[in-house]
Amino acid sequence: MNTITKLAYSVAVVCAAFTIYSCKPAGPDKVLTGDAASKAYVAPGKYDEFYNIVSGGFNGQIGIYGLPSGRLFKIIPVFSTFPENGYGYSEESKPMLNTSNGFVPWDDLHHISLSTTNGEHDGRWAFANGNNTPRVARIDLKTFKTVEILELPNSGGNHSSPYITENTEYVVASTRFSIPIGDNTDVPISSYKENFKGTVSFIKVDTSGHMKIAFQLVTPGVNFDLARAGKGPSHGWFFFSCYNTEQAYTLLEVNASQKDKDFIMAVNWKKAEEYIQAGKGKTTKARYAHNVHNESTHQATSTILEEVLQLDPAELKDIIYFIPCPKSPHGCDVDPSGEFIVGSGKLAALIPVFSFDKIQKAIANKEFEGDFAGLPVIKYESALYGEVTKPGLGPLHTEFDANGNAYTSFFVSSEIVKWNLKDLKVLDRVPTYYSIGHLCVPGGPTKKPHGKYVIAYNKITKDRYLPTGPELTQSAQLYDISGEKMKLILDFPTTGEPHYAEAIPAEMLMPKSTKIYRLEDNQHPYVAKGEGQTKVERKGNEVHVYMTAIRSHLTPDNIEGIKQGDDVYFHVTNLEQDWDVPHGFAIKGANNAEILIMPGETQTLKWKADRTGVFPYYCTDFCSALHQEMQGYARVSAPGSNVPLKYSTGKTDDQTSGAGQ
């Protein structure tokens, strides 16, 4: 036996050994079943069953994935600039990121809410929160584009958001950090108890999707964490988890973990509406931006609003009740029937399940144990349906299937635990790799969960993927829940850090996906509807190029007469009217980005002509066999030169005479 054969032989033995070994349930693979691959496999050319709409956390974006394949289809920039398509760089989209602090091109996007009608998914919009510079965004699910962003005044950080009511009447936004609000905000930090307030904004959503703050509830200073609306019998109520009821303002890790119980805050928003109608709201001064994208003009506008209507629940009774909930509650989830409210104390070793029916009786019978800053606190036992005992360590969030089961994520013990809503018995548990945060059952927060899968969104991946230096990929894990036992069938990497996500059946979105923008409907002020309308105009030191793009040329593709120091605006209209034929536009030395222009759309790239010379521009999105020919030249002359403004495509001058001497 020569050495090579020996080596090959031993490789085969090792190989065989490993193959046999892999049959034994051992190590992390033990939850992986034999047919896992076929369950997550979507054949080439086939479609996924679900869209998974996943928050990107600190990237300020949303990722659109397919389930069960885990394939990434699209990244939607929401609170972030995106040089890939020019969002936040094009003149049209810059206003989307305007705030009372000016242009804020980043945020921390944590949670997704898909619009519902009668408590069920309706496939119109996705809402997303900006945690840092408090904002709520609306994404149109026909175009998968951010179409509206509303800033929130009197908020220190919009974490407990953008949860919605049963018919998408309201989106809520409550502050994570309480702060001093109103006229006197320059106060000692140590005066937290006296001066710091929380706010909960109820944002009205009209039938076209447009958002407006209807009212703000001013609450005692605490941290609001998460929230869910009631539904069915509990429609008209909203539930918010609160922590730091200790009202600590330093070393919260210790100081906000003193009390045995914090609260779930129950809000009777129908009652709040009555007070508003009765004129009990106080109009207060504020300053916040409202940004709306218009699909006809293909432009966004930003308006600064200066007033907000506030209600004081300490004065106006019966809006707010507190329910004690163990150990810094994080998740606060309402089951499909609307009867059960599940609180998840981050540091608790049990899960309390509250009954809406019992809460109502407790309020009627005034079964209160006292008050918190003047607001009634219901007795724990009076609101409690029961406790899930010994479920795991560090419960965070709960989703539901259509069969009366709940699925709770456990960060500390890194697992998903399935339990029954009726008898509160633990039915099954599976490990996650590693440290799960949120989880998602398709339709889990609605009245009619679609079920079938639960997806874990993990905080740590450690050894699960090929390493990529100190920063590793984030990940999701897909489990089949169609049987009694949960089965891990797929790991897939995600962009940014996934927090909450929702999933919706593909057939609810696919048929209405926008394919093109009709040229006939384009109302952009600088549109060129056809090459006959292309032109170059000078307005002082601004040069406006009305340009068209079609496979495979830009018109005009020769421009002269630009002067050094000019601001040149390339308004590019894509004349294509076919699906999946965007054109791109880029010019040498641009300080912003490229732009992508969808069929029938007009987008504008601003370019500073800061030096003389001839500058190529070209299409950046491979569009045809002659894509590489899709180019042009812009000539920039010295400020005092007499080169006339002229432009053309397909016009050839005699080489010896030269163009525009």
């Binding site: 190989c15 050319g45 009709r518 079609i550």
Partner: protein, 163 residues
């Protein structure tokens, strides 16, 4: 020895537990994207092959004399917005062929099918394919309705000197 090695290796592969369900071959999938689309094409070809009218929903066009002036105006506007970037109205070819005398070269049905059903035409119609070989850029679907294509046709007739 080599044989033993092979047997070991093959054995190793077969020992792998969790026998995968035999997957149906992708070719058998009746609803794959390719199949749906090639079937569409096949049926269409069978419906109107070789009559010079092209492939699509336009099977019979009635031409009136004198020309319908209203259609000409609308057709010209559509031409300027959606066609002019590639088609001149003289006989000069830029991206696509010039339109001069197109109504003399082609049946009206062929022209309207080319405008409204361009992807199938380029895949199945021999004349359209010859043009693709010549121009090397696929004519885009410009989302023109059959009614609008009829207006464009009237504009072409006028351009060709018909009264």
């Amino acid at each position: 020895m080599k044989k033993l090695f092979l047997i070991m290796l093959i054995g190793a592969i077969f020992v792998a537990c969790g026998p995968d369900k035999p997957r149906t071959s992708e070719n058998e999938d009746s609803d794959s994207y390719e199949n749906i689309h090639s079937n569409e094409g096949a049926n269409a070809v069978a419906a109107n092959v070789n009559d010079g009218k092209g492939i699509g929903q336009v099977t019979e066009v009635t031409l009136n004399t004198p020309l319908e002036q209203e259609r000409i105006g609308r057709g010209k506007a559509i031409y300027e917005m959606k066609c002019q970037a590639c088609h001149r109205i003289d006989d000069q070819r830029v991206v696509g062929p010039g339109w001069k005398d197109v109504t003399k070269r082609r049946k009206p049905e062929w022209i309207m099918n080319m405008i409204t059903n361009v992807d199938v035409m380029l895949d199945k119609d021999a004349e359209a394919q010859k043009l693709l070989e010549l121009c090397l850029t696929r004519m885009p679907n410009q989302n023109v309705s059959v009614g609008d294509a009829r207006d464009v046709l009237e504009f072409m007739r006028q351009n060709d000197g018909q009264k």
